[in-house]
Subunit: 129 residues, 6 copies
C-alpha cells in the first residue's frame, strides 16, 4: 500500500470539495469498500491531480468534458463543485458545456447542462446573461 | 444560409491549423458534400469557437478530452495540430491525455497517446522528460 | 447572430412538439442560458431538420436510433413525442427500438423501451399486439 | 418462431433470478410488447447463456464488465442478482467492479458501485472488509 | 438450433448485399467460428430484418445512425452497401450522416462520412451537389 | 513515487505477456513519456491485477468484455495475448466475444472477433469447431 499517495489524495480532495460533498461520495464508498476507496483516492487524486503540468482549472475543464462526453451525469456533481472551488467562473463552466455540443453531441451536453442548472440553483450561483 | 457564420468559421479554421491540415479535412469534405462542410464550418468554428467565454487553449483542452473519451482517434490529428498552434506546450498536451486516464479509461487514453506520439514525431516536436 | 436560423428553428420545434414539451426542454434551457438555447435551436432545428433531403419521419428514426445507441434516456421524451407527432405509428416506434437490439445492444434498447412504455402510457397510446 | 429457444430462455431466466426480479423486467416488457420480450428471451437466454463454453459465473463477469463499461446502471439490478445466484461471492462482485476502474473509467465504475451497494443492502448481503 | 431462422437470415443477407461483401464479412466469420456466424445470421437477419413493421429503407436509416453513433466505422461498409441496395439514394445516405451531426457528435459523423466517401468512390456512386 | 507498485506492475506485465508484446506497448510509451508509463504500470498492473480477489483468468474475461464494449480494438492485442497466457482456451476467448453480442452489440463484437482471428492466426492458435 502506498500511504503517501493516499494522504496526498485525501488532501487534494479536501482542497477540491467541501466536507458535505466528501461525505456523499468518497466516504460513502469507503464505508462499503475501503479498498475501492483507497484506489479511487490514490490514483487520480494522489498521483494525478497533484502533478505540476496543469493547474486545477485546466484539469477541471478536462474532467468536465470527459464526463459530459460519456454521459456521466451522476458523477458530475462532485466535479461541478470542484470546478467552482478551483476558480472557474459560472459562465466558464456553462461555456465549457456549450463547447461540448459538437463533440459530445447535443443530447449529452443538454443532459450535463441539467446538472449544472441544478447545482447552480443549490449553491445560489448565477450566470451573467 | 448564414454566410457570416461560414466566413467566421473559415477564418477561425485558418487560424487553428495550416493549409495542409485544412486540405486533408475540411476541403476533402467540401469536395464531396458542400452542405456537410458548410454545417461543419458554420456551427463549431463560426458560432462556437469565436465566442469570448473561453480562449483557444481552454477550448483545446475541452476538445482533446472529448475526443480521447469517445475514442475518436481519427479526428485527433486536426485538434493536436490546433492545440500546438493555440499555444499549448507539448508537455501540456501529454499531461492532458494523462489526466484522461481515470476518466476516459486507460485503453482510450493509450490509443490517444499513440496519435500524439505520431504527430509529435511528424512535426519534430519533443517533450521534456 | 443568425436570427433567421433561430426563427426557422423555433417554428420547426413548435411543429415537432406541443407547448408543454417545449416548456420542459427549450424554455428551461433558455431561461438559464439564452446563448445555449440559441445554439441548440439554430443548428439542429433551424439548419438541419428543415433541409429537404429527408422527411420528418425518416429524421425521427435516425434520431431515435442515435439516442438509443448512446443511452440518452433523459433526452428521449422530446423525440418520442416528436416521432408520434411526425406520424410514425406507435408500432413503428416500438419496432425501431427493437431494431436497435443487435446494434445498440440489449441493455440500451431495453432502457429506451422503458421510456417508450412510460410516454405511451402518459399519452394513452396503445400498440397493437 | 423458435418456441424451443424461448422455452430454454425462460428456463434459464428462472434459474438466474427470482420471480420478483422476473416480474419487474421480463414480464413488464412482455405485457407491453410480446415480440420484444420474445427476442430478448430467445437470443441471449435461449441461445447464448445455455451454451457449454463458459459457465454462469464466467458469463456473469463478462456481463457485469460490459454493463459497467457502457454505464447501463438501470440494467444492472437484474445481473447483480443473477451474479449472486450464480455463486459469485459478494467480494468477487465488488472486485469485478474494481477491476473495471482502469478500463471503463472511474466515473462508470463508481456509478456501478452505487448499484451494487444498493442491491447488497436490499438483499442483506455483506462484504468482508 | 433454429435452422429456419438461419435460412431466413441467409436469404435476407443475400438480398441485402452482393456475394463479394458476403465473403468479406459473413463467410470470413463462418470459417473461423460457425457458431458465431450462426448467431449473427439468425438473430438480426433471420428474426429481426424480416419482420413486417418497418421496410428495409427504414431499417437502413436506423442501422446507419446506430453505427455512426457508436463510431463503428469498420462495420459500416456492409451497411452502406445494403442501404444503396435497399433503395436509399446516395443523397439520402449523406443526409442521414449529416442528420447525426448534433446527435452522435461531429467527430463520429465525420468519421462515418469518410467511409461513405470511400464506398461511393469504389462503387462509382455520385451525389448531386 | 511508489516504486514498489511499479516493480510489482512490471513483474505482473512480464507474467502476462512476452517481451515482444511488452516492447510494442509499455516500452513504446515509456520511451515517449516515462510518467505516463509509470502511471499505466503502477495502477492497473501494480495495484489491481495483483489483488487476491479474482484470478488472472477471471480478470482476463472482465478486461476482454470491457474492451469489446468500448470498441477498443487497438488495445485488444495485448489482452488477447494475456488471456491465452493466463490459461483461457482459444474456445473460451471466442465464447467470451460471442457472449458480448447482446451486451456490447453486434458491430463491436464483430470488430473484436476480427482482432481475435488475426492474433490466433499470428500465434498459430486454432479453435475447435
Amino acid at each position: 500500500m502506498d500511504s503517501k499517495a493516499y494522504e496526498r489524495g485525501m488532501e487534494m480532495l479536501r482542497k477540491m470539495v467541501g466536507p458535505d460533498v466528501m461525505e456523499g461520495t468518497v466516504e460513502r464508498v469507503a464505508k462499503f469498500s475501503p479498498d475501492m476507496a483507497r484506489l479511487v483516492v490514490e490514483f487520480p487524486f494522489g498521483s494525478l491531480y497533484s502533478r505540476p503540468g496543469l493547474d486545477l482549472k485546466q484539469r477541471s475543464l478536462l474532467t468536465i468534458s470527459s464526463l459530459v462526453t460519456q454521459g456521466a451525469v451522476d458523477q458530475m456533481d462532485f466535479h461541478i463543485h470542484a470546478a467552482l472551488n478551483a476558480g472557474l467562473t459560472p459562465n466558464e463552466i456553462v461555456e465549457a458545456v456549450m463547447h461540448c455540443l459538437p463533440y459530445a453531441g447535443f443530447p449529452k451536453s443538454l443532459g450535463a447542462l441539467g446538472v449544472v442548472i441544478r447545482i447552480f440553483e443549490e449553491r445560489g450561483v448565477t450566470v451573467e446573461v
